[in-house]
């Protein structure tokens, strides 16, 4: 936190919330993100049809434009794909996979990378050197290629995509968290905690970690947006999630061949949903960075 004194009734949390609410754009992003997350979680209850229950699909309804009535009594608001699957339902279910993979890999990579970064920053010396060399090596290689290679090795699958994303993303957390751990280590409270002869893990996780949280949260949101986009890209290239659990990227890939024939909705709407998701996460992350960055708080 910055050096400015807090008013008696002002807790850091309240102050953070007030700072965050100051930007309407960021609030809009948060609202959008919550809506999207709710839609993804509630998909089985709000989707007009279960897009993966073949009994509910009618192949004769294939490639209908948006707004066409369905035989089952509802309307295909976003049209249907070549299998006669309602695109709206497909997108809602696709969001589950996309968001699940994105959030899951961001959090897992955050735990691994964050812990290693803390350790590197706190321990310094040879531990720091060893961890950071690996981080440098990792960051010097483009993430998309590393992920492609890992998936070529592991094969398709939701768990494999998460693993690949964790392997390519942990280094970002490690580098950032190490930076703040290095700065925090000089502080008096760390000195005091060590003076009390507390075990190292306690100093690390109870004292140092919470104070590195702001930077960690910023990287977490940014990397989550990246993970969602990367997963979509990998699935689009055909090396991501399997056809049984299609994410938005796979839906776009499936529709791409019909785009040239003018049946744009099969890949247009999943792409729009993907775009909105990433924009929402980025808006939140971008503003969080402004709010939580102590350098910008005068």
């Amino acid at each position: 936190m910055s050096g400015a004194a807090l008013a008696p009734d002002e807790t850091p949390l309240r102050r953070f919330l007030a700072d965050y609410a100051a930007s309407p754009l960021a609030l809009l992003g948060l609202l959008l993100l919550l809506l999207i997350a709710a839609a993804a979680i509630l998909a089985p209850w709000i989707a007009p049809q279960d897009p993966y229950d073949l009994a509910q699909l009618d192949i004769l309804d294939g490639k209908l434009p948006p707004g066409s009535p369905a035989g089952a009594g509802f309307t295909y608001w976003l049209g249907t794909d070549d299998q006669g699957r309602d695109m709206l339902s497909g997108i809602l279910y696709g969001l589950r996979t996309s968001l699940g993979v994105g959030a899951g890999s961001a959090v897992l990579a955050g735990i691994v990378g964050g812990a290693l970064g803390l350790l590197a920053g706190y321990a310094g010396g040879r531990t720091d050197g060893a961890i950071m060399r690996v981080v440098d090596l990792q960051l010097s290689f483009p993430a998309i290629l590393a992920a492609l290679m890992i998936l070529a090795w592991l094969g398709k699958g939701v768990a494999n995509v998460v693993l690949a994303l964790v392997l390519v993303e942990w280094a970002y957390y490690a580098r950032t968290v190490r930076g703040s751990a290095l700065a925090e280590r000089q502080r008096d409270y760390v000195e005091a905690a060590r003076g009390l002869a507390l075990p190292a893990w306690r100093v690390l996780f109870r004292h140092l970690a919470p104070n590195c949280a702001p930077t960690f949260i910023i990287v977490l949101t940014m990397q989550m947006a990246r993970a969602v986009a990367l997963e979509a890209t990998l699935s689009f290239l055909g090396l991501g999630v399997p056809i049984t659990e299609p994410s938005l990227g796979l839906l776009i890939a499936n529709g791409s061949e019909y785009m040239l024939a003018g049946q744009y909705w099969i890949s247009f709407y999943p792409g729009l949903a993907l775009l909105l998701t990433i924009v929402a996460v980025n808006l939140v992350g971008d503003h969080l960075r402004d709010v939580l960055n102590p350098k910008l708080q005068a």
Binding site: L25, P65, P66, G67, W77, L78, G79, L137, S140, F141, P142, I144, L145, L148, M149, A152, W153, A225, A229, A232, T233, F236, L237, G238, L239, G249, I252, S256, M259, L260, G262, Y264, W265, S267, F268, Y269, G271, L272, L274, L275, I278, V279, N282, L283, D286
Partner: protein, 384 residues
């Protein structure tokens, strides 16, 4: 300077060696090429002969040493699928990718630098308003076009939702910009909001949209391939023919999207920081014109991060062309590598990855050298 260069070269060689081990082990773990290469009808002896031919029967470390020895002589193995030296296969395709990536970087610089410059400068100056309006129009006209096309040409009232979404976007952003011309820093904020959008757009989806609008609906530009090429110095280039340029525009624009946003943010941050420094205050006190201050003094100071990021991003752009090339069927190395992964064509994958590693090392080296030329402190400090 020589010592600096030598030390960097030594480091580069070491990283290259480390990466060669990683890449070799990594690629070795990818599938079993024998299953794909040997026909199911082949008998045991035939199978064994092919495996021995490819050197797949020897222990891993021996295969690696063999690979390393050949690699040092410039031989990265033969492609299983094309039965051609992997390196030649890649070098043959490399110009197409480099051309695409370089065009994308150029577009990013031409669009991103002015936008970032003006987003970072203090508001309430005339050129700012003009640039903002022009940029707003540049953005909104194609988007409105797209909305109209969606509305008009798509079958049976199908377009309204899509058209509405796009029109909202197209009108909203310039409206925000226009509104921003009067109040203090809104235009800058609008550019920043636009750059978030640029960061968020899924590249492959935008590529599909570009194809749909400009190739399918409007028929203005071709959507696949490189078009006519001209051989210069024994290499085929697209950008020297009108047809080639027409083929280049869509994929290059698609690939540039991310870099434009990055450039805007980078330049804006640099300008804002630099405008507060002593030397700018001094230049102002000396009575230099604002134009000279910005275009000479400020621009020079922000060139260091711009050069760094441009350089580092070039490698990323080459790597990311995997996606763009797949969308636009651009016959470069990106498309080749995706095909090779499907076919488990190990030598090509290894050769490609080694080339990318080499590219990154060379880029880092070049950026370091450019640094030491632009900023004497780096050179004098002898920083490794």
């Amino acid at each position: 300077m020589t010592a600096f260069l030598l030390r960097r070269l030594l480091q580069a060689a070491f990283v290259m060696l480390a990466m060669s081990v990683l890449v070799f082990l990594g690629v070795f773990a990818i599938g079993d090429p024998v299953e794909i290469l040997v026909s199911p009808q082949a008998d045991q002896a035939e199978r064994a002969r092919i495996i021995a031919d490819l050197g797949l029967d020897r222990p891993l470390w021996e295969q690696y040493l063999h690979f390393l020895g050949n690699a040092l002589r410039g031989d990265l193995g033969r492609s299983f699928a094309y039965n051609e030296p992997a390196l030649r296969l890649i070098l043959h395709r490399l110009p197409a990718t480099l051309e695409l990536a370089a065009s994308a970087m150029l577009i990013a610089l031409v669009i991103g630098l002015p936008l970032g410059l003006f987003a970072g400068l203090p508001p309430r100056t005339l050129p700012l308003r003009v640039i903002v309006l022009v940029a707003g129009l540049c953005f909104s006209l194609p988007a409105l076009w797209l909305a109209r096309v969606l509305l008009d040409q798509l079958p049976g009232g199908a377009g309204p939702a899509a058209a509405a979404a796009l029109a909202l976007l197209a009108l909203g952003l310039p409206a925000g910009l226009a509104a921003g011309v009067l109040p203090r820093d809104l235009p800058a904020r609008a550019i920043m909001a636009g750059s978030i959008l640029g960061f968020s757009l899924p590249t492959f989806w935008v590529g599909l949209l570009l194809i749909m609008v400009f190739a399918v609906q409007l028929g203005w530009l071709p959507s696949t391939g490189r078009g006519a090429t001209v051989a210069v110095l024994g290499v085929e280039w697209s950008f020297l023919t009108a047809d080639g340029i027409a083929h280049l525009i869509l994929p290059a624009l698609n690939l540039a999207l991310f870099n434009i946003s990055l450039m805007v943010r980078l330049v804006r941050a640099g300008v804002r920081e630099t405008m507060l420094t002593e030397f700018v205050k001094f230049a102002r006190a000396k009575g230099l014109s604002p134009r000279r201050i910005v275009l000479v003094h400020v621009l020079k100071a922000i060139m260091i991060p711009v050069v760094t990021v441009l350089g580092l991003e070039f490698g990323q752009t080459v790597a990311f062309s995997v996606v763009t090339e797949s969308v636009f069927a651009w016959p470069g190395v990106g498309k080749l590598i995706v095909d090779s992964i499907y076919q488990l064509d190990r030598p090509v994958i290894v050769a490609y990855l080694m080339l990318i590693v080499l590219l990154f090392i060379l880029i880092n080296l070049a950026v370091d050298l450019a640094y030491s030329l632009l900023d004497p402190r780096v050179r004098l400090g002898g920083r490794a």
